[in-house]
């Protein structure tokens, strides 16, 4: 297993970061999410008025805060990868903890938002828009929870010089960036598109 400080014949600019298998996951899962977005947009065109009315219940500022939190977490994990590449595992680990913290904060914000919506009578079954909203944000939350587990593995590996692997760090970071990308798309489609 390569350590975080290992150098390889291939320069960082010439190789794909992380495992190739993870990029396959990103591609396949992105196709699935794209199909979800297409379905949402199609049904939106069928009853635009009802979708707009239900959409007005969303709190745009909260969505913006969600996005900022998650984008910041992506920045933190990118910095973590850089620190690991530079042979500074302690700093990489600290930044991975920051990423986990921001991911947890995002989850908490999402729970608050769901609680507000349900309190206002907007549930999974109350309208077609809310059906899509809770489905897409719920699926994203599942991906995020898996990402938190992956980051936990990363933190564990970074603490042990024998387990440390630059490839694992980059693979986890790739997954986390993907979760972030899905959120940006969900935010754009559900909150911004009017």
């Amino acid at each position: 297993m390569a350590t975080a400080t290992d150098t390889t014949d291939t320069s960082p600019d010439e190789r794909v970061p992380g495992e190739t298998g993870m990029w396959f996951f990103v591609l396949f899962e992105s196709l699935i999410f794209t199909s979800y977005f297409c379905v949402y947009l199609y049904f939106r065109t069928q009853d635009e008025g009802a979708f707009l009315e239900a959409q007005s219940a969303l709190r745009l500022p909260l969505g913006i805060v969600d996005t900022i939190v998650l984008l910041t977490s992506s920045w933190a994990i990118a910095r973590s990868v850089q620190e690991a590449r530079a042979g500074r595992p302690a700093a990489a680990r600290r930044l991975a903890f920051v990423t986990i913290g921001l991911g947890a904060a995002f989850s908490a914000l999402k729970l608050v938002e769901w609680a507000h919506l349900i309190g206002d009578g907007h549930t999974f079954t109350s309208s077609d828009f809310m059906q899509h909203y809770f489905f897409l944000t719920g699926m994203h939350a599942v991906h995020l929870l898996i990402g938190l587990v992956a980051l936990g593995i990363l933190v564990h590996q970074l603490a042990d010089p024998h387990r440390r692997s630059q490839e694992t760090i980059e693979t986890c970071a790739t997954y986390w960036h993907t979760v972030d990308l899905y959120w940006v798309l969900i935010f754009a489609v559900l909150y911004i598109v009017r």
């Binding site: 495992e19 190739t20 298998g21 993870m22 396959f24 996951f25 396949f28 899962e29 699935i32 199909s35 979800y36 379905v39 049904f43 999974f124 079954t125 077609d128 059906q131 899509h132 489905f135 699926m139 599942v142 991906h143 898996i146």
Partner: protein, 259 residues
């Protein structure tokens, strides 16, 4: 060399039998569910009792003949599960993964596969039954088939974890991640218990059509990869070797046996 002597000499004959049985099972499954019984794509969840009577009447012979075939030959599904469990046993991971997978699929096959066959056959057997009773069977059939897909979620996660931890290179790691994709689509089925209409109902665009596309891809890929595992299998321990160049890529009854 005759077919019989070839069969006797080939140490992988049982594995190839299991693999061809897997292909035969999934082919039978597709023909019965999509062709003979036309229970896939599923019927509408919002049908009124009288409409479910018409639904049964419209495919009575197909339901009886198709599911009779499943009751006779459905046991073939065991070979696919056994082959997957065998491949997990070939990995460097604990045997607990293979046993968990085996037990889980044995249990899951009942609600996820056989309930629909029983319910629909009962409905087709006496179409003069009251519309309410026919609707009950209709709902039981489709809800048990679609709504219980979640039980397969853990199976995919077990296989994924085994592949990602394995050091014997039995499966490529990207297939481990494909298991995760499949597991995540099993989650999507759960809302079919809530919705009678829309994209998340049991016949919905998201809950059925997209999921079937993912599951179809996943099934095709794992059948192909299981074949690769058999070709590469050396009945040994440690990393599974690559298939040697020039070695037959698939078993054929008249092919020269390579030991």
């Amino acid at each position: 060399m005759s077919i019989v002597s070839n069969l006797r000499a080939d140490p992988k004959r049982e594995l190839w039998f299991a693999w061809y049985s897997t292909v035969a099972f999934y082919s039978l499954y597709s023909v019965v569910f999509f062709g003979l019984t036309r229970t896939q794509p599923p019927g509408k969840p919002w049908l009124e009792p009288e409409q479910t009577v018409e639904w049964f009447a419209g495919r009575q012979d197909g339901l009886l003949v198709g599911f009779a075939l499943i009751f006779v030959l459905g046991g073939w599904s065991a070979t696919a599960i056994a082959l997957i469990a065998y491949s997990i046993r070939r990995m460097s991971v604990s045997r607990a993964f293979a046993y968990s997978y085996l037990v889980l699929y044995l249990i899951a096959a009942v609600p996820g596969f056989l309930f629909i066959c029983v319910a629909m056959t009962v409905g087709a057997m006496r179409p003069e039954r009251s519309p309410e009773a026919q609707q009950w069977l209709y709902d039981l059939g489709f809800l048990s088939f679609s709504g219980t897909m979640g039980v397969f979620l853990v199976g995919s996660l077990i296989w994924m974890t085994a592949i990602l931890l394995d050091k014997n290179r039995v499966f490529p790691r990207w297939f481990g991640y494909l298991n995760l994709c499949n597991a995540l689509t099993e989650v999507v089925i759960a809302p079919s218990w809530i919705f009678q209409r829309g994209v998340l109902a049991w016949d919905g665009v998201i809950a059925w059509w997209i999921d079937v596309a993912v599951f179809g891809t996943y099934t095709g890929v794992f059948i192909y990869l299981l074949r690769e595992v058999i070709v590469r299998d050396d009945f040994g321990r440690g990393p599974l070797p690559d298939a040697p160049p020039g070695r037959p890529r698939r078993w054929h009854p008249l092919a020269k046996v390579v030991r």
